[in-house]
C-alpha cells in the first residue's frame, strides 16, 4: 500500500455528552476518489470539519501525506495542499464572483501576505481565475457581487473556490445539492476532470453522482463506518441497504 493521502486513526468527537464521531479508522490512498455516504446527521460534515481543523478531535489522529495535523490551523492545513468546500454555502458575498476565485488563487500562487505585488498586474492570476470561472460556467457573471447569484450558482462558485488553488487533496461536501439534473451532470464531469490524478473526498446524497465518481465508498452511520469498499460491493451490502440506501436506490435508477 502506497502512503495514504489521508489517514484517520481512532478519530472521535463529542459535543458535550453527545458522541458524534465514535472512532473512525480510514485511509484514503493517493489519487483515489472516495465518497462518504450516510444518513443525515451521521457525522459526515463533522468528519470533514475534524480533518480540516474546523473542530478539534476529542481523540485520534489525522494524517495528511503522513504528517500529523494535530494542532494545526485550517490555513496551515490548506497550505499543505488540502482544500474543501462547505455544505452550507460559504463564499465572500460582497466581493465579485471573479474576486472570489482570485482570492482562492493567491496563496497557491505564492503571493502570501505580500504588499509589494499588485494583483491586477499578474496575468497568471487573472487568467487563472477566468479559467476557473469558465469551467464553472460563471464567466458571464464575473463582475456581479457573489451574494446576488442564485442558489445553484453560488453552489457552483463554492466548488470553483475550492478547486481553484489546485490542491492535491480536495474535499467536497454535497457539491451538487440544489442543482438541477443537467447541472449535476455537468458538475460531476467537471469534478471528474479537475480531480484527475488528485485525491477526492466527497460527501453526497445523490447516488448518481456517488456511483458515477467514486472509486471507493465509505458508509458512515451514527459516527461509525459500517462499510468501505468498491461501489459495487457497497451497493450490494445488505447492511448498507438497510441503514441508508433503502428503496431509494431503486427509485433513482
Amino acid at each position: 500500500m502506497s502512503a495514504a493521502a489521508l489517514e484517520l486513526r481512532g478519530l472521535k468527537k463529542s459535543f458535550g455528552k453527545a458522541e458524534i464521531i465514535r472512532g473512525i479508522d480510514l485511509s484514503i490512498g493517493k489519487s483515489e476518489r472516495h465518497a462518504i455516504i450516510g444518513p443525515n446527521g451521521a457525522g459526515k460534515s463533522t468528519l470533514f470539519n475534524l480533518i480540516t481543523a474546523r473542530f478539534m478531535p476529542t481523540a485520534g489522529t489525522v494524517k495528511l501525506h503522513g504528517q500529523d495535523l494535530r494542532g494545526l490551523q485550517p490555513y496551515q492545513i490548506n497550505r499543505m495542499g488540502l482544500s474543501r468546500s462547505f455544505q452550507i454555502t460559504n463564499i465572500f458575498p460582497a466581493m465579485s464572483v471573479f474576486e472570489n476565485v482570485r482570492c482562492a488563487l493567491l496563496w497557491s500562487q505564492g503571493y502570501k501576505y505580500s504588499f509589494w505585488n499588485l494583483v491586477n498586474n499578474s496575468r497568471r492570476l487573472t487568467e487563472g481565475a477566468d479559467a476557473i470561472l469558465d469551467q464553472i460556467n460563471l464567466l458571464e457573471r464575473r463582475n456581479l457581487p457573489a451574494g446576488t447569484l442564485s442558489y445553484a450558482e453560488q453552489r457552483a462558485l463554492e466548488i470553483g473556490i475550492t478547486i481553484a488553488g489546485g490542491a492535491d487533496v480536495i474535499m467536497l461536501d454535497e457539491p451538487t445539492a440544489g442543482m438541477s439534473h443537467s447541472e449535476t451532470d455537468y458538475i460531476t464531469d467537471l469534478i471528474m476532470k479537475v480531480t484527475e490524478g488528485k485525491t477526492l473526498i466527497m460527501v453526497e446524497h445523490d447516488m448518481g453522482v456517488v456511483f458515477g465518481l467514486a472509486d471507493q465508498i465509505s458508509v458512515l452511520v451514527y459516527g461509525e463506518i459500517i462499510a468501505t469498499g468498491k461501489p459495487e460491493d457497497v451497493r450490494g451490502d445488505p447492511k448498507v441497504q438497510e441503514a441508508y440506501l433503502g428503496a431509494a436506490l431503486e427509485a433513482e435508477h
Binding site: S150, E153, G246
Partner: protein, 233 residues
Amino acid sequence: MIEVTDMHAYYGKSHILQGVTLNVQEGEIVALLGRNGVGRSTTCKAIMGEVEPKGSVKFRGTEIAGRKAYEIANMGIGYVPENRDIFPGLTTRQNLNLGLKPGQKDGAGRWSMQMMFDMFENLDRRADVEASVLSGGEQQMLTMCRTLMGDPDFVMIDEPTEGLSPQMVQKVAEVLKEIAARGISTLLVEQKLSIAMDIAHRVYVMGHGQVVFEGTPAELKEREDVRKEWLEV
C-alpha cells in the same frame, strides 16, 4: 386558494419575474419546476411579500400583493425558504416554537411539536442543542417543521429534499402527502423531478421569469419538447 396573475418582480433593476400566472386549488400539491435561476424562489418570495410583487396575488379571493409579510403569514400562508435560515443562538425547540403564530398555543392547530419530533427522530435527538450546529439535513427538516408549526393553510416549500439522504427523501415525500391529506395546499419547488412527478397533482414549468407550461405530471411526461427546452432532461 391562491391565484397569481401577471406577477412581476425586480431585484434592483433586473426584471426577474416577467408576468407569472399560476394558481393552487384547495388541497392540491402543485410543483413549480424549472432550471436553476429562472426565478422559482423569487416567485415564492414575491407571494410571501419578501420581494415586492407587481401584479395581483389573491389568497382566498383577497388581494394580498403589497401587504406585509407577517400579515400574509397570519392569513394562513407558510413559506419554507431554500437556504434554511436557521436561527442561530436558539435551540431546535426554540426554533420550532418561533413557528407558532403570535398567541397560538402548541398543539392548537393541525400540528404539534411532539408530532414533529415523532416524524423526524433526528430533531428529537437534537431538540435542545443550538440549532445552527445541526447537520445540513437536520436543518432542512427543521425549517419545514418550523413553518408547519404555524398551521398554515397554504405552504410554499422551496427544495425540501435538498441535502437529504435517499431515505429521508422518501420520508419527506410522505410528509408532503400527509400535508395534503390534512387539507393543506402546497406549492412545491423541487429539483428532483422524480419526486415532483410522483406526488404533485399539477405542475408548472418556469422559464425566463414566466410560466411556460402548465399541466398534470402525466402531460408533462408526454411533452418531450418542454422537458428538453425548459428542463434540460
